[in-house]
Symmetry: C2
Subunit: 203 residues, 2 copies
Amino acid sequence: MAARRRSQPSTTRTAILDVAERLVQSRGFNGFSYADVAAELQISTAALHYHFPGKAELGHALVDRYAQRFGEALEAIAAMGVPPPEKLRAYADLYLRVLCDERMCLCGMLAAEYQTLPDAMRNSVVSFLDHNCDWLADLLETGRSEGSLEFVGAAQEAAQMIVGALEGAMLVSRPYANTEHFEVIADRLIGELTPERSPARSR
Amino acid sequence: MAARRRSQPSTTRTAILDVAERLVQSRGFNGFSYADVAAELQISTAALHYHFPGKAELGHALVDRYAQRFGEALEAIAAMGVPPPEKLRAYADLYLRVLCDERMCLCGMLAAEYQTLPDAMRNSVVSFLDHNCDWLADLLETGRSEGSLEFVGAAQEAAQMIVGALEGAMLVSRPYANTEHFEVIADRLIGELTPERSPARSR
DNA sequence: GTCTATAACGAGATAGAC
DNA sequence: GTCTATCTCGTTATAGAC
């Protein structure tokens, strides 16, 4: 029972985070309200304020939880025991899975609203992007040294491009309400990093 | 005097659009209010309602004007009498100039907030993206047939990737409050489309 | 065209009972 | 932990005077 209490961070708190997360990812931090979350959970907004004193605190908890989960997903991919190109594909699939749920990446959404965010949230958004870039740069460098990935210049810069391009792919895909738009971009990105065994036509 | 009146769509109306445009590009459509615009122009919100009955109408006017200006910029580039790679660079520079002003692309911002937008605005955002893709696909196809640009697969798909990647580059660059992040991505994008002999980096 | 005044509503937040 | 009730403020919008 003690063990259970320790691993149970209040079921309501988690439910609030889950609903708020989906709302922010689909409508933006400035596009949802405590009332929206409360209505969906059939509780009062006062209950929300018990768990999260203000919207800023809720937002901060959201992005921190998201970043932690994403970080765990990255570790899982890193541990996967497949070659770098497949890990790169698995990375892009993380984004695709979010998009399939008709959501934008939480931190991509918050990046758009960056200038209106509380300070604490801003820092967490930048940390998320940095962490992704670092992880990717490491993967890219490993792949290049093995010969399984090909790119010019610094791995950090190639990583920046991948993160930016995937976030942008999600951004422009959602208005079309399909995932093909995203997949086309992800495929091209990965294709450009993968050595060509059968050279493409070029004059 | 008649000519003047014809080419003068009310100086206040234009001023409202200018201020609102900047606010939406920096804070989002859900992150600004009539009061913000009114305060900056030192007029009342009632005056705003005279020119634009509601926020939806103002938003629609904003995105339509933006799309028209962007379209004119594309025509100007198309008419430039330089080879396709330079036109591609000029295209990326359109985005860079927006970012230098600490703004997101208006339609990129609205794409993030897409699910909260009035219908009329939604359609205009999609039209903007489509127009950009079509224009780029045409440029890419021309470049490939000339041998000045290189890419695999359909021009439409390569164009989708460029639009998505540039929008994403703006998105992730703004939290870093510099343009280098964007420029790194733009340079890589262009570099990948340019045959090896001339790396041709500007700056 | 622009103003003041105000209505109508929603959002974020707090107090205090249970 | 959750509720009801309430408060304050900001936002959108309208009415009517000038």
